[in-house]
Subunit: 307 residues, 2 copies
């Protein structure tokens, strides 16, 4: 099934305890599109870049099967730029620079050929822009998933709530779930958040894995213990890409299949952190992905029968 | 198979955001014995209390099938006493009082009837006392598991290393694993710790579950998301009791069975935190335990086949 992805396509400059980069290709929609492209070849990207964005990076996305017809290029403007520095524990980071540039007045135009996309992944953007995408879909998608962040909870809570009410799956991290719900216990937080609209909620817990809530069930996908994390940038978007990519490819939105999708997302995210930026997820083989997914499966499966 | 349990049997006074207790029955060996008693009725306790310890609490242990022949009662001395206050997040606590009393010169005498115990659980105590128990076992047990804490890493590292070298399974939490190994990444920490002797290592991660390392494999048992944690005291010991209790009952020390044992330990610990002290694990039915174990299984099991 076809998948519509919206989010930033941008430049990042990253500093971690292991090194630093100049401006490299980044942005939520970049990671989501690349990650989902390992599962489905019908990825429709909606985003905006400036004239400074390298044509070869657009070609790179196309080589991964990503349709870039919906990628607006504003020749006389500059691309979104984010720069950040990770602390030694890699769990927290300081934002050094945020230049909105073309994102400041982004109008998410959906090409006619994208209409009918059954799956939609709303990458982190202003909740108004995310909602505009939903409103512009002429046929109701089978599933809309959404990422957001604490920034929008701080400055645009009302708009955020309106958008959250319209989506099927919300994907956030544990801190964001606590902030959004005002509850510390994640099980209680999940109940409150699902009462806001989404039928399913994914709470990402970084090195501790991810929780999927829905249909009065909980699934906990543990994260593979890694020997080193090189750069966490984009890991959450890469997770979202693997998750929605598997759902779109299998066209099955049962809870049982969402569990599998969480494993695929987790496996993709575990690759992402191994190198700077998109480097690792640009060059994966089907075998590497399957081997990693199998490691995630082996990590938590157990044969047990109760006496 | 019979299980020898050594550790403190003591008084605790606990304060959490939900309330506080006077002196109640506590101690590592109390929680371990009670928890393991749900799996095996051949639990041999080695510990020491003072004349102030209530006879009815000893009777309570015996009613759970715990053999108290090895429980020394020093009539003219006082029992070990610990008092602590948990912070609002329940993840950290301050120790308010530690009175060693009878534990100060504890000589772990093993009754003749305990000789031949196939399974040994060394609850948190000085590493010298733990090692004395190993040395006094006339036949080599099938499996020796050991708990310890950062306190011994700080003040008795050399003694601790000598004891760790003699055990089969070490059970510690994530902070302790990092301190013991000097490594932040738990996978790397596990390698270093297993090079010190233990063939298996369990790293407890509290609300994030527990990791089992051994035979070049990793098992990650997620923790059931709880709506509230009332009192974390004894949860780690209760985990250890369920773990070793299942191993002793099934008499199977394969990695596959240790995975199951981690689930049983996790399920028991999840009960422990629901009420103050030992209250919850004193009164569990077989049905309650099985239902909770099934919830842990359902939490992470997935049906998936790779394309």
């Amino acid at each position: 099934m076809s998948l519509l992805v919206i989010g930033s396509v941008a430049f990042d400059a990253i500093e971690t305890p292991f090194g630093k980069t100049d401006k490299i290709i980044g942005g939520a929609a970049t990671y989501i599109s690349l990650s989902s492209s390992y599962f489905t070849h019908d990825v429709n990207l909606v985003a905006v870049v400036g004239g400074d964005f390298p044509k070869e990076d657009i070609t790179l996305l196309e080589k991964h099967g990503v349709n870039t017809e919906g990628l607006q290029i504003k020749e006389n403007e500059k691309s979104f730029f984010w720069s950040g520095k990770y602390h030694n524990d890699m769990n927290s980071r300081d934002t050094l620079v945020t230049e909105l540039n073309v994102l400041g007045d982004f109008d998410p135009i959906i090409p006619a050929t994208y209409q009918g996309s059954e799956y939609v992944m709303l990458g982190n953007l202003s909740p108004e822009v995310q909602r505009t995408v939903i409103e512009r879909m002429e046929t109701k998608p089978k599933l809309i998933a959404m990422d957001t962040m604490n920034f929008w909870m701080d400055i645009a809570r009302e708009e955020l709530d309106k958008t959250i009410a319209l989506v099927d799956v919300l994907i956030i991290n544990d801190e964001e779930a606590r902030q959004l719900s005002g509850e510390y216990a994640l099980k209680t937080a999940a109940k409150k958040i699902m009462a806001m609209g989404p039928k399913f909620l994914i709470i990402k817990k970084g090195e501790h894995g991810a929780l999927l809530f829905g249909e009065d069930k909980i699934y906990y996908c543990p994260a593979l213990p890694l020997e080193s994390v090189f750069d966490p940038t984009g890991a959450g978007d890469t997770f979202a890409g693997g998750f929605i990519g598997h759902l779109a490819a299998s066209d099955d939105i049962s809870f049982a299949n969402m569990k599998r999708a969480v494993i695929y997302g987790s496996a993709m995210a575990s690759f992402c952190v191994e190198k700077f930026g998109t480097e690792r997820i640009l060059n994966l083989s089907k075998e590497e992905v399957n081997t990693r997914v199998q490691e995630f499966i082996d990590l938590s499966q157990v044969e047990i029968s109760l006496a």
